[in-house]
């Protein structure tokens, strides 16, 4: 009897989320019917999206250059307070100077690589560290959410601490993490400095993921939970068939926030702990050279922007994989 019950549950359970699945089904068919026009329309829409994106960037560049051209060299002051920045080449280099600087070598040293390459490699290193931190954050965040969802008392006990954890300033514990890390040595495993940075990144990343996942796991209606109970579905079955699919719309924005936090955490922790090779390091290194070479200091900033875009884009890829479960996206 129990056996049948289980089988019924497994066969019937997907029907719970049927409303979600019918839509893509319909759209597949309609796409099939009108494949060509739909494709053309999507192509046009993609082009438009890129066009608007590009226009946005151009607008920023235009505002920058117009302000630089028209505003007084000493900026705009109200009383003694400067409300708009100076427009000197030192404070605001020309856009074209910043970009042409990217193509030139970092220094005149014969071994110097072009600036864009140095920034790109540094951004890749930081991206790797941030990704490691993000993964740890995902595991810890979802793990905590599962525990909190399962036991109410765990939620009461843990949630305040999770919120509290984010009020500790990063610069306060970065040196402590590094100091602890330098003493970890288990067998042939030796703690590397980049792991401290990844740990700090995960510390920032896990928070939105834990909160988002908890809200998502708790999002199914009472009626759906009771339906699962009536099928005699246990905790795990309900989790896999009901709670996880229902959590996806909450989880995706949380993962994106987590990715952004991981990148910020990695960059700040690199500066804080003095890790070589990443974007945080060249950020302060080039800031020190900004008097004699103002355009150079902007290159790592562009690198950091690119880094954020790639991180957010990677999570968007996850969204495509999980698209069946994305009815709507809730803000985390």
């Amino acid at each position: 009897m129990t056996d049948t019950g289980g089988r019924v549950a497994s066969r019937e359970a997907p029907r719970v989320s049927r409303p979600a699945e019918t839509e893509p089904g319909v759209s597949v068919r309609s796409q099939g019917l009108a494949a060509r026009p739909a494709k053309g329309r999507r192509g046009r829409r993609t082009a438009a999206a890129w066009g608007w994106g590009l226009a946005g960037i151009l607008l920023v560049a235009l505002v920058w250059e117009t302000y630089k051209l028209l505003a007084p060299a000493d900026g705009v002051l109200i009383g003694d307070t400067r409300v708009l920045p100076r427009t000197t080449d030192l404070a605001m280099p020309h856009i074209w100077d910043m970009f042409s600087r990217l193509a030139e070598p970092v220094t005149r040293s014969p071994s110097a690589q072009p600036l864009w390459m140095v920034v790109g490699l540094a951004a890749l290193t930081t991206l790797g560290i941030a990704a490691a931190g993000w993964l740890v954050g995902v595991v810890v965040g979802i793990g905590l959410a599962l525990v909190m969802q399962r036991w109410r008392i765990a939620e009461w006990g843990l949630l305040p601490w999770i919120v509290l954890s984010q009020t500790v300033p990063l610069i306060a514990f970065a040196p402590i993490v590094k100091s602890w890390g330098s003493r970890v040595e288990i067998g042939s495993f030796e703690w590397q400095d980049w792991m401290s940075v990844a740990l700090i990144a995960s510390y920032l990343a896990f928070f939105p993921i834990a909160i988002g996942a908890l809200r998502g796991l708790e999002s199914p209606d009472r009626i759906h939970e009771e339906l699962m109970q009536s099928y005699a579905a246990g905790y795990w079955k309900t989790l896999v068939k009901l709670r996880f699919p229902a959590a996806v719309p909450y989880l995706l924005p949380a993962l994106r926030l987590g990715a952004a936090n991981a990148v910020i955490g990695a960059v700040v922790a690199e500066v804080s702990t003095g890790l070589q090779g990443g974007i945080g390091r060249i950020l302060i290194q080039f800031a020190g050279q900004a008097s004699g070479d103002p355009a150079k200091a902007w290159a790592p900033i562009f690198g950091a922007i690119l880094l954020g875009l790639v991180a957010a884009g990677s999570v968007a890829l996850l969204g495509v994989i999980l698209k069946n479960y994305r009815r709507s996206e809730e803000s985390a």
Partner: protein, 385 residues
């Protein structure tokens, strides 16, 4: 069909991204500091040295010692650890994260009064390299002229020479406006600061490699008034090698390692004095991001702070130490805080290890006083390139 293809593509793209990231991660880890993996392979003693900032010409002697194999000759495998914004060398040393640390004397005096147990075992920089730079027409020609002006400082323990010099002139911190400087000289060049703190080997060079918008040429020394703290009562001892006091007393291996370490370091600094160009290249190869002319300037100016050392490089001069302590006792910062309130303990410095190292090096025929030291002339290019 199309549906699943797209999802497959996305999954593939995601997998590729993940693979890239992991690859980036593993290369990132390898790029750290030079050598630590093969510790103990050839019976070398692993030693960690904490610097107080990013790799740059200021530390050329240590990088030269590593590059030229002087550490290995002494049976040491030294890992040179650069610092970032929040890694305080004396804290890392007091916590036992590293074996030796480079730090300015006044900063460590503060830490010692807070309870750290550290010993200055070699005073590498014999002179202070701190300047206060103002524009030539500013009328600021001595510390007495600071009154009522906007004075720049980096803070974080780099400010005590300013307050010690001012205390000697009868000025306290409330008579000036202290403005925190960042990593470059832009705030000074744009007029937000009347007199900016600058190291001879770094920020002063940054000024000289910047184009003066009025002339279209680089700034020249004539454009600036320079006050050198070395010539004021505020002068304090700077880059010194610090060791853990308790370990020096209780661990004879550590004390022996300290002597070996100092020997190799001194060879490194002698190398940097004799071959500033090569030392500068070594530092760039070790991860310094400065342009070649700036790096060479830095090595050359650093050499001037070390050589000549009539007592021998690294020997702590009692008078200079006492002057630093007197300045540290007199200095009060803008929030009314003192750096130290009582004399540091006798264990705060010791010439025992450097004397032994110098004796052995002299027996080997090395000139450790730099009697014939001649600085070179360095021409700075725009942007330090």
């Amino acid at each position: 069909m199309k549906h699943s293809t797209r999802r497959g593509l996305a999954a593939g793209a995601f997998a590729v991204t993940a693979a890239f990231l992991l690859a980036a991660c593993s290369t990132g880890s390898g790029e750290g500091s030079s050598s630590s993996d093969s510790a103990g392979d050839e019976g070398l003693i692993p030693v960690k040295l904490q610097l107080q900032w990013l790799p740059q010409g200021q530390f050329a002697g240590y990088f030269a010692a590593a590059d030229q194999g002087y550490f290995e000759d002494e049976g040491l495998e030294v890992e040179i650890i650069p610092s970032g914004g929040d890694i305080v060398p004396q804290d890392a040393l007091a916590n036992g994260d590293v074996d030796f640390a480079i730090a300015w004397v006044p900063k460590v005096l503060g830490s010692i009064e807070q309870g750290a147990n550290l010993t200055d075992i070699a005073q590498i920089f014999q002179r202070s390299g701190t300047l206060q730079v103002s524009m030539a027409d500013s009328g600021i020609e001595s510390v007495a002229d600071f009154e009522g002006k906007k004075i720049g400082s980096w803070g974080f323990g780099n400010e005590w020479e300013i307050f010690a010099a001012m205390a000697d002139e009868g000025l306290d911190a409330t008579t000036v406006q202290i403005i925190t400087q960042d990593f470059n000289m832009n705030a000074f060049l744009q007029g937000d600061i009347d007199a900016a703190q600058a190291m001879t080997y770094n920020e002063y060079a940054q000024l000289l490699e910047t184009v003066n918008p009025d002339t279209g040429e680089l700034y020249t020394p004539e454009d600036f008034n320079v006050i050198s703290y070395e010539e004021t009562a505020g002068a304090m001892l700077q880059d010194a090698i610090w060791a853990d006091t308790d370990r020096l007393e209780s661990d004879s291996d550590y004390a022996e390692t300290a002597v070996k370490f100092l020997k190799a370091v001194i060879r490194g600094w002698v190398y940097a004095a004799e071959n500033p160009e090569k030392a500068s290249e070594i530092t760039i190869a070790a991860g310094s991001g400065w342009g070649p002319s700036h790096e060479l300037w830095m090595v050359n100016e650093t050499n001037k702070l070390i050589w000549p050392s009539p007592d021998g490089i690294g020997v702590i001069n009692q008078d200079a130490w006492d002057k630093t302590v007197a300045g540290a006792l007199a200095a009060v910062n803008e929030s009314g805080a003192h750096l130290i309130t009582e004399e540091p303990p006798a264990s705060a410095w010791s010439n025992e290890y450097i004397d032994e190292a110098l004796k052995e090096l002299k027996d080997e025929g090395l000139d450790v006083t730099g009697e014939n030291f001649q600085p070179i002339d360095v021409t700075l290019n725009e942007g330090g390139n």
